[in-house]
């Protein structure tokens, strides 16, 4: 029997993937578990493996094409098997994702609103995710012929019709075109109409992106018009500078998956997250001394300033779970374990690999891990579980000569620490001017979770640890 090869969710937040390279040609024998292709997810390049034995009979998308999770992209079958039915069904598929990538509002708005990305009311459907079925020709045709499609036909797709919810709850479509369908449960529709939530502005978390009770309850607690906070974790703050081309007035650069994710998530963050900033200048004279004396003992004991900062932050977080927290819409989550996301600049963006249980690790471990993670990040070799699960993030731009900056919170995390460079400054010490090594840190706090004093107390603890690094061994 033929095996369908579909675009798989290779990372927890992946909604579509770009096929970077086919590792098998049509006609090649493949075994279950063998690598079929390399796929660029929103975070990394991953391998897509075969889920059946046979011959790779048909490749349905080309290298460079993007396909939503769940879309049929190839067929594995016996050498002589008739796969027309399967391959035919997907033959038109490359068209759909290609169109989607070019952001064709008309086409996108025909599609049911499904998937995990937030549907912001302001910019219409371009960024709206699609699920696998949207590229199946018969479904697409159906969307096109919406007005004339008999009701029974429509029900087959599982879409909700306004008449089913005859309890007076109208099906609000929001910013969508009339042809758009919003899938929602009857209870969700009732709650939405009572609480004045427009269904079209809500992102569904039910099967196939269906809007359910929980989604409305979350939406009702947000200020009107604010887009939904994403539940997943992703890349945070600063964006790497873009090269400017000398050829012509401008150069169009296609969006890579990571760039799309950064754009979407940063916009989400600056919008609904009520952020405030707390800055402190810390004296790092003793940290420098400690580091120097460690280096004197041998090169193998060399650690970076950032390693010591990470260690101090981890220790401070352990004492301040209210800062080591996530905002989850209907609740806050304080973490008992400390997993620090460390922003790493990569070629076309940034990613935050995670040092898990950083508070329990010694400087040697933190130093080694941060080095390895940064290297793997730059090589795009990080596995999904290596860059998800952070409870708090740290971003350091000191190496770029930045004295002071603010970082953007990576939701659902409640805070991020921006660390500037170490430099010598003249400060008053015991009433006399003195030259000291100083470092600025700025804590960005989600005010829904952290109040001013709470954040300040955390920075107090951090200051005590950084200015007296021996406390780290206490």
């Amino acid at each position: 029997m033929a095996t369908k090869v579909v675009m798989e969710a290779l990372s927890p937040t992946m909604e579509e993937g770009r096929l970077v390279k086919w590792n098998k040609n049509e006609g090649d024998a493949v075994k279950s578990g063998e690598s079929l292709a390399e796929v660029e997810t929103d975070k990394a390049i991953m391998e897509l493996v075969a889920r059946g034995d046979g011959v790779l009979r048909k490749r349905l998308i080309n290298e460079g094409d993007t396909a939503p999770v769940g879309q049929l992209i190839a067929v594995i079958g016996a050498a002589d098997e008739n796969i027309d039915a399967l391959a035919g069904g997907g033959a038109a598929a490359p068209q759909a994702p290609a169109a989607a990538q070019e952001v064709e509002p008309g086409a996108a708005e025909q599609l049911p609103q499904e998937g995990a990305a937030p549907a912001s009311p302001a910019p219409p459907a371009q960024e709206r995710p699609r699920d696998a079925r949207t590229s199946v020709p018969d479904d697409a045709a159906q969307s096109q012929g919406e007005a004339s499609t008999p009701p029974q036909e429509r029900d087959r797709t599982g879409a909700e019709r306004t008449s089913t919810g005859s309890q007076g709850a109208t099906l609000a479509i929001g910013s969508s075109e009339p042809g758009d369908r919003v899938r929602s449960s009857p209870l969700a529709r009732k709650l939405a109409s009572e609480r004045g939530v427009e269904l079209g502005t809500v992102q569904g978390s039910g099967p196939g992106g269906r809007i359910v009770k929980k989604d409305i309850e979350e939406a009702a607690t947000r200020p009107k018009g604010a887009p939904a906070p994403a539940a997943a974790q992703g890349a945070p703050a600063p964006v790497a500078a873009r090269r400017i081309s000398a050829e012509g007035d401008y150069q169009d650069i296609p969006l890579t998956q990571i760039r799309k994710t950064i754009a979407r998530r940063l916009a989400e963050s600056i919008g609904p997250v009520p952020t405030f900033y707390l800055t402190a200048e810390l004296d790092v004279e003793r940290v420098a001394e400690m580091r120097d004396s460690m280096i004197e003992l041998g090169a193998e004991y060399k650690v970076s300033f950032n390693d010591i900062v990470l260690k101090a932050v981890a220790t401070a977080l352990q004492q301040h779970p209210e800062v080591n927290a996530h905002w989850l819409g209907d609740k806050m989550r304080y973490f008992n374990r400390v997993h620090i996301g460390m922003a790493v600049a990569v070629e076309d963006g940034l990613i935050t690999p995670v040092i898990f249980d950083a508070d329990t690790k010694g400087l040697a471990d933190i130093s080694r891990e941060s080095r390895e993670l940064a290297k793997r990040a730059r090589d795009r070799k990080l596995k999904p579980d290596e860059y998800t699960g952070a409870t708090f993030s740290v971003s350091n731009l000191g190496m770029f000569g930045i004295e002071h900056f603010t970082a953007i919170i990576n939701p659902p995390e409640a805070a991020i620490l921006a660390v500037g460079g170490v430099e010598e400054r003249v400060v008053a010490v015991d009433g006399a001017p003195a030259v000291r090594k100083r470092m600025n840190v700025t804590l960005s706090c989600d005010h829904r979770v952290i109040d001013g004093a709470t954040g300040a107390k955390f920075l107090q603890t951090l200051r005590r640890l950084i200015e007296n690094p021996l406390m780290l061994v206490y």
């Binding site: 798989e8 969710a9 279950s32 075969a50 889920r51 309890q167 449960s185 009857p186 099967p207």
Partner: protein, 467 residues
């Protein structure tokens, strides 16, 4: 040594369903099981018990056959025949699982497994050989649970006069007298069975009602039905002076302010099950347990050790076959890299197959009160339902608790004939967030027991028609 993508330890309803789904998703799978396939459910629980309950139902029907104009001659009840039929049904089902394994190319490794490192198991086969098997993607602990006695009440299982459900399922005859300690689902079901086969049954529980996890109205209704059939029900009970003899057990039961001496042939301990966590190397592998002794898992069935998963009874309550099976399916999707939908643990139906049957989903009225929810109750008795009258099974009712404002179905409780089948309309409704109005709007065929569900929904809106 052979190598698989996934190895399940335990072939019960969690493990075998998970294994089949894994195979369907293209993974290579093995299940290590020391007994026949199917686990407690197929061999020592759900299936054989239901076969006996069918026998009991038939016995009770025959007693009333005359009312239907069906004259039967002399009726004799033989528990040993019912038991043998029950075993045959059980082994048929187990063979069915074997067939499904062959069909889906799931390997059954017969033996006892122990975790060996993070991605392998050591299997001791029946002939004493040891073999090692590797699991590349995941090792799944689906070892289930087992009956435990009540040593703290002086009722250590001895398999002759103090027995568990395991022994009750293979008794050669129904005893003259029996005390059943524990009036949860298992206790109530066996009370039903042995009562039908002529045993004088005393049903005892420390809780103030029988089926203490169900809605209080259902508990009361069942107690009433049991008393009508001469099952003695002693709740809020304390046991003392337990003396276990060779052919009988003596004890003192204090209930409702009265102390009474009780002597029975057999005590059936139907309280509590313990997860099977020993001797599989969990501790050595560093797998964390919850404070109640279950394996700790997250919503992706992952334990604290990467690559080791747990599903079913061993991964925590509710200890129900259908909960385990669903966890197996979710796990398979996780392992195959598919998008999966988390399990809604608030929407798992409960079913007790005594007569009348009791089934429920969601919150009980007690729980609604504790949570201070604003709710309304709709109720419809089977005595007002046409179909129930035709079959003469008019005990019981449907009770639906809805949110006062939005009509969300907070909980549904059915006691009566076929309650365990009827509950699923409400399971589907709740899973899809239908409100009581959608339940009523769906046209129910007439005459059916299911009409009582629609009427209860209507009653919650103050619009009941037939009562």
């Amino acid at each position: 040594m052979s190598s698989f993508d996934v190895i399940f330890i335990g072939g019960g309803p969690a493990g075998y369903v998970g294994a089949i789904r894994c195979a369907q998703l293209g993974l290579s799978v093995a299940v290590v099981e020391r007994e026949a396939l199917g686990g407690t459910c197929v061999l020592w629980g759900c299936i054989p018990a239901k076969a006996l309950l069918e026998a009991a139902a038939l016995a009770n029907r025959v007693r009333h056959a005359g009312e239907f104009g069906v004259q039967v001659g002399e009726v004799r009840f033989d528990y040993s025949v019912a038991m043998k039929r029950s075993r045959a049904v059980s082994s048929q089902n187990s063979k069915g699982v074997e067939f499904l394994f062959k069909k889906n190319k799931v390997t059954h490794i017969k033996g006892t497994a122990k975790l060996s490192g993070k991605n392998a198991v050591l299997v001791k086969t029946a002939d004493g050989k040891e073999e090692k098997h590797e699991a590349k993607k995941g090792l799944v602990v689906s070892t289930g649970s087992r009956v435990k006695g009540l040593p703290q009440a002086g009722l250590e299982l001895n398999k002759t006069t103090v027995i568990s459900s395991d022994e009750a399922l293979v008794l050669e005859r129904a005893p003259k007298t029996m005390a059943i300690v524990g009036a949860g689902a298992v206790g109530c079901e066996f009370a039903d069975v042995f009562n039908a086969f002529g045993t004088a049954v005393t049903l005892i529980d420390i809780a103030p009602v029988i089926l203490p996890l169900e809605d209080a109205d259902c508990s009361a209704e069942l107690a009433k039905a049991f008393k009508k059939r001469n099952i003695e029900v002693l709740t809020g009970a304390k046991l003392s002076d337990v003396k276990i003899g060779k052919s009988s057990v003596k004890m003192t039961v204090e209930s409702g302010g009265k102390k009474q001496a009780l002597e029975v042939e057999i005590v059936l301990v139907a309280a509590g099950r313990a997860p099977n966590i020993d001797e599989i190397g969990l501790k050595e592998a560093g797998v964390q347990l919850s404070d109640k002794g279950f394996v700790k898992v997250n919503e992706r069935m992952e334990t604290s050790v990467k690559g080791i998963y747990a599903i079913g009874d061993v991964a925590g309550p509710p200890m129900l076959a259908h909960k385990g099976s669903r966890e197996g399916v979710v796990l398979a999707e996780v392992l195959a890299g598919h998008k999966t939908h988390g399990i809604n643990y608030d929407n798992i139906p409960n079913a007790t197959y005594c007569h009348p049957e009791v089934a429920s989903i969601g919150l009980t009225e007690q729980q609604c009160k504790e949570k201070k929810l604003d709710y309304k109750v709709g109720r419809f008795p089977f005595s007002a339902n046409g179909r129930a009258r035709t079959s003469g099974e008019t005990d019981g009712f449907v009770k639906i608790i809805r949110d006062a404002k939005y009509g969300e179905i907070l909980g549904a409780h059915i006691i009566g004939a076929h309650a365990t089948e009827l509950i699923h309309e409400l399971a589907v409704a709740r899973e899809n967030e239908f409100t009581v109005e959608e339940v009523d709007l769906a046209i129910h065929a007439h005459p059916t027991l299911a009409e009582a569900v629609a009427e209860a929904a209507l009653d919650s809106l103050g619009k009941v028609i037939h009562a």
